[in-house]
Structures are given as structure tokens and as C-alpha cells.
Symmetry: C2
Subunit: 474 residues, 2 copies
Amino acid sequence: MAGRNLGRMATSPLLDDLRAALGPDAVLTDPDLLRGHERDEADLCASATPLVVTRPSSTEEVVAVVRAAGRHGVPVVPQGARTGLAGAANSVAGAVVISTTSMNAILEIDPVSRIAVVQPGVVNAALTAAVSEQGLWYPPDPGSWESSTIGGNVATNAGGMCCVKYGVTTEYVLGLEVVLASGEVLRTGRRTAKGVAGYDLTRLFVGSEGTLGVITEVTVALRPAPAESLTLVAVFGSTAGAGEAVARIAAQGLSPSLLELLDRTHLGAIEAYRPMGLRTDAEALLLAAADTGPRAAADLAELAAVCEAAGAEEVYAASDAVEAAALLQARRSAHPAMEKYAAEAYPGGSGGLIIDDLAVPRGALAALLDGVARISAECQVPIGVVGHAGDGNMHPNIVVDRADPASLERGRRAFDEIMRLGLDLGGTCTGEHGVGLLKRDWLAREIGPVGVRVHQAIKAALDPTGLLNPGKVL
Amino acid sequence: MAGRNLGRMATSPLLDDLRAALGPDAVLTDPDLLRGHERDEADLCASATPLVVTRPSSTEEVVAVVRAAGRHGVPVVPQGARTGLAGAANSVAGAVVISTTSMNAILEIDPVSRIAVVQPGVVNAALTAAVSEQGLWYPPDPGSWESSTIGGNVATNAGGMCCVKYGVTTEYVLGLEVVLASGEVLRTGRRTAKGVAGYDLTRLFVGSEGTLGVITEVTVALRPAPAESLTLVAVFGSTAGAGEAVARIAAQGLSPSLLELLDRTHLGAIEAYRPMGLRTDAEALLLAAADTGPRAAADLAELAAVCEAAGAEEVYAASDAVEAAALLQARRSAHPAMEKYAAEAYPGGSGGLIIDDLAVPRGALAALLDGVARISAECQVPIGVVGHAGDGNMHPNIVVDRADPASLERGRRAFDEIMRLGLDLGGTCTGEHGVGLLKRDWLAREIGPVGVRVHQAIKAALDPTGLLNPGKVL
């Protein structure tokens, strides 16, 4: 196959430079592969075919790619596993993609300092497994954790189910190595547990979606492995009741290690996808867990009591770790289950999902859920809601018929209405998926003209020619 | 007194503008007051008398001060309670000081969202008290917590004893209102528990020591009040043994809520300051606590066992909350006790302290303590060490004779040697006090030329004329 490709290998001065620096095997121009690297998993976002996909295997090679692209005035688009949901990894036409998949070494795990140093292409699950062998834990657990990379997690500041107690990715990033648009290599942060030296550049790069630099090394903080958790399910006859329970849990000072909500649409979709006996007649289900060791049973009982007081029809604890794992797996399958549900909702499998992501203050969760139901009715599109109820981070998933422009238009209107509602409730336009291409307009509304100007000033200071991931965030 | 001052009130076009905007009572030019606002509590740092101290009482008044100073080309120096230890609040000659002390309202406490919104002049202890009335907790507890302001804590990213388990100030800052050098008002961050929208401007401003903007409002995250903690003391015959205990505590996955170290010099100084029966013959004392509720006694027993295995001569638990509070108070008195010890170490009370602050990876703590003892001997200056051992953040306090240039010179050499040792051990030049004026050269060494350039680029992007707190950090 190499021979076949060599016969019609694309050439250009830029490609020659890249091949000279990286060797031909790390400079890919196969048309199918290029098309496969056009985009991440976000719908509704523009993308285009890159000129080339590079797979550098060292920081020096990333520097070479960035410098070559800069010399030739060709934009650079960094990519991890392309599991993002906001289009942040989408290519623009003719770009140089930097895929970090060949930089996938775990360089160090230090149980005393409780840190790991990894290359950006390390898959989240691989890091999680490696540190757990030493009794340690890397908490961030985005839905994509089995395939997404640490570099991508850092670039998008990925969240997950752990966040309600343990926070998003940025809480675990101590330091970075970043290749700047200039080709310079910047080291930020530290290896120490504590440190306040200079501007917090580390967290400026976390979540900047490849627009300020290409991450080539990540130093993360680890935690001791938590105690095994106990899990309960609370079944509600109304989403507002579930929202009320979440507010009361917070008000009473409880700190569950997981507090997830599934609405009726998702319960049905999950049962259809992989039957496990979920109550599909419920309007909402809360899944909660306590990982507090000897105190967990008492904490779970408190959570149960609050859910009952908030009107839960039924509350039951998982009888053992197997049942708890099955419940967690059901929650984790919400995304593929809804994809299947959406596809089958329209003839010929033309249905699709607009996956939304926003966060509101916990106290506004019930109002958000009510509002989404109203928007669903007004816009005449089905909307299922699932998400991290404990931190007010919800994913309203809008079901549309891709083959029907009117359905798509109604879906977009619902999306905008939900964004508007979220901001009106004191929320933010993205709780964990990021801005990418999908939320640029809503970010601008959220942060206002001064916020946009400051973003632009920082982007211009670090990437004056707009080389890196153009069009994202801003 | 107003009449007396009015008779010789300083005037200038800038002062006229300030008085017109703020009223005369908030524009202070009394020479004694100006001298009192020259500096914070850091030694070895340059300072000079400001032209004027302003006490704006609203964001709009801060805008007016910044715009007036900008028009007249006069630098602006923001100040809180001036308890900082790196000179970040020191004035330059002829500056306009913005004192936030009149902006001291707690605007909101929301127990469901677990947030508080405060003006920058609110004293840490006042916020702590107000939220504790609602069963909530604001963890950051710098040594100055009874007098320092939240604005100052945020500007310096202050630490404290809680950090070993709960992190520094930046972990608790969700959003800010900041007046930029342009006079524009920027709002950063969010009120939600979770959110990843755009660049993390909030944390860019946290710890930027007033060089990027003047903080006028802070939204902080709160936690439920922790369970009452149990406390133990472990007495060591060598500092290396104490360092070894800290490393083992981390390696075994324990998470004490406090893990402090006092060396022999500090034990003696504290006993002399307020006798309480501390073992002044010990080389080092570790103070540890567990706040894990029903698990605390077991956790404390594990901590005790690790200390004994690491060679502690004696380990004892505080018999009750009163004794635990007394031990904590002893630790908190380390700073004034050492000041007294230093003053009395030289005739005429001419002794003083160079207070240092650095952090190393936990595993390097024993090496740091050994190294500091070696440097003390080599430079012929007494150095006491105290600090937050659990996160590797130590304060070597160098005793010098202010009246003796040779002693001061030896003290400075020891300071530099300690900084060099810290960086060689993989550490950072400041764990919690910040850079200010004191550590600018060491920050530059730590972050390297690319890091310095990126700092300068960000400063230039946000404050192109260098109006805000000139000479700090960079």
C-alpha cells in the first residue's frame, strides 16, 4: 500500500518540509484518511478536508510541524481522538492537522508526589489503569474516557460524572509543555502540590482548544484511590421533583460522589438499547453515589431521605457492586442509546441528535428542566435531558430529522432557546463540552464585548498571525 | 482634623479629578497616611511614597480612579490590607493607591449554589464567619486571615494550612469583576459549580498581583462545613525523619486535613513567645489532623503509625478540641514568635527576618530540610524552618541583623541558595506568598525566557502602557 500511495503521493513545498522533518510515514495524505480527520463528533459544525495529517512523535517534531506551517502560512489544527462535541477539532480546508496519537507514552508516575507526566496522546483509560495499579486515581472521566486522549481532555477541559465532587480536568493539571505558534516551547506550572509563581499559564491553556498552543506534555495531579462507592436510584414522577431533590441535597451540605439525572426519554432509549429493567414510566431518575468509606452507608441513607422528602416515588440502593456497575453502565450508555433512538425516530434512519451542554446554578435546575420541556413543546421537537444534575450541568439532546430542513430548523431554534434560558437562569453556555465552533456566538453573549476583546487580545498576543486552530472559541 | 488638612491639602489636576469623582473623603493625601501605605509586610523590597491613597466605594469609582490615573500617566497600585509577604502591594513613587478597604460588603451567600459574592475589601475572617452561620466553609486560610482581604487573597493566590487537602485560593474563585487598565469592566467566570466557557480568565487574574486589573468583585465557591477534626503531634529527633514521615503519609494514600512542620528553632521561639509545653528539645514536630468524621479516629491512628514507623520519638493525640485548638494556635503564632526571636537575637532589637517561601515535591522535603541546614551553616546565619509540610511548601526564615550589612548580605546569600536548592529539587520559588518584588528574578529563572516572554506578552495585551502595579511579577 505504501508503494501504491507513493506513486501518487501529493507533493508541495510544505509537504516536502514536513516529510524531511518527520519522515514520510508520519506525514499522511491518503484522501480517505484526510476525510476521516475532518471533524470531531459534533453535529451542526462546519469542517473541511485538511491538506495533510501529521503524526509527530516528539516535541521537536511538533515544533518542526508548527514552524513549517507558519513559514508556509498554512493553519494548524491539533487533534486528539476527535471525540469532542463542539467542533473544536474540526479541520479547515487545506490545514495541517497535528494528530497527537503517536505521542502516547506515560513518562512517569510518582506515588509520593501524586503526579503523572504523560504525552498528550495517552488515552484517558490507559492513564486511569496505569495509576490504579499504584493505588492512585486520575478522576476526570468524560463520557469518551475509553477513547479520548489526555491532550484532548486538557484542550477542552473535559468534565464527566466525577466532577460533582472532584471537579473538571483543569483541577488536575499541574503543568504543561506547549509548542507556541512561534515554534517556541513553553513549560508552564510545576510538579509540586502547591505553587503560585507567576501568571497561571497552565490554566490559560487548559480549555483553550488548541488556539493558543499545541500541548506536548501534561503533568497531572493524582488522588489516592477512593473507597468503593455505594449507589442509589431515586425515581421521580416529575423532573421538577428531581431538580428539587438536587437543590435540597446541596442545601443540606451533602457531597455525593455522583449525582446524575436521566429523564423519561433517556430511560426509554436506554431500555430499548440494552434492557436492564429501568422504570421507563418515571419522569426522571436520579442516580447518586457515596464514596466515603465507613460513612458511605449513612451518607447514602441521608441522600435517600432527601430524595423521599422531595417527592421521590421510589428509592432503592444497589444491592451490590455488580448492580451499581450496571446502573453506571446504563448512565454511560445514554449517548449511544439516544443516538439509536434518534436515528430510528425517522424513516430511513435519518434522525439525529443535537447534543447540547449547559450548566446552571444548582438551585435553578428545576426551572431549567421545566423550561426545556416548554421549549420542546413550542418548537415541536423531542428533547431528552440527561446530565450531571449535582453540578447543574445538563445535556438537553434535541432529536431532529436530518433529512427534513424544517425539523433541523426547529431543532436549531430549540438549541438557541435553551442557550438563552440557561444564561437567563445565571448559567453558562457550556459546562464541559467546550465552545469549539458550536458555541462561539453564545460564548460572545455570555462574556460580553469586553470579555471578547480580552480573549482576542490574548489570542493575538500568543498567536498574532492566527496560525493555530483558526475560528475556534472566538 | 479635616479642617487642618484642608488648609494644606495637596492639589494637582489628577487630585482634582479624583476628588471630583470620589468626593474629598475618599482621596487621602495626609503624609503620615501616605507613608503608612508605602508597603506590605515583606522585607528586602523597595517601596516609595504614593501621591495619593484612594478609597473608592464602588466599581464605578474604581473605574474613575483608573481612568484618571491613565489620563495623567500616573501608575496605579492596588492594595488590600497590606499583609502580603512579597512586596506585591508596595507603592512606587507618586502612585495612585487604590485601597479596597471601603468595598467591604458581602453581597450574597447562596447555600444551594454554595457560593458567596463579595467585594474585594471583605476580610477573610469576616467571610469565614458569615458563611459558617449557614453551615458553609470558605477554606483558604492564610496566616493573615484575621486581617487580610479576599481581594488581596485572590490577587496573591493566598494559601494556608488547609491547602494540603483543600487547595489554594484559586480553587475557590469562580468568577471576578475586574477593572482593566483601559477602565473597562470585565466580568469573568460564572456562578455555576461547573463551566468551561472560553479562556480561563478568572484564574489568569488570580495571583496576578494587581498587574492585569483591579479586582472589584469576587464570586467564591464554598464547601459544607467539615467535621470537627482530630489532631496529633509527632516529635522527631531529626528533620529528615519528619520529611520521611511526610513522604510515607503521601505514599500510603492518606489525606490529612493539616500537616504542618515546626523545626527546633521555631519550637523554641514559640515557647518563648507563649509557653505551652512544646518539646523544645525536638529537632522537628509534625502537627497533623483528620477531619473525616466517623473515620477520623482511624485515620489519625494510621497517621500516628506512619510517623512512628518513620522514627518519631513520641506521638500523641490532642486529648480534646481545646488542646487541638491550642496546638493550632501555637502553629499560627510561629510568625510573630520568630519575629520576636529574631529581634531579640541581636543587641538593641536590630534583628529581623527574611521570610522565605518555596515548595518542593513532597518526596524532596527531607532533602530540602537537610539542604537548608547546610546553607545555614555555610552562610553563618540562623535559619528556622516552618511550613505546610504536607504539600512540600516550606518557609525557611532567615535571621539577620538589620544593623549589620555583613549579616544582611549573608542572609541574602542564604535566601538565594535556598531558592537555587528548591529549583534543583524540582520545586517552585513560591508556594503561596507570590512573586511581588521579592521573587522576580527567581520567577524568571524558574519559567525561563519563553515563560517570561509569554508573561510580558499577556501583560502588554491587557495593560499596554504599564499603568497597573508596575514592576511587580515581571
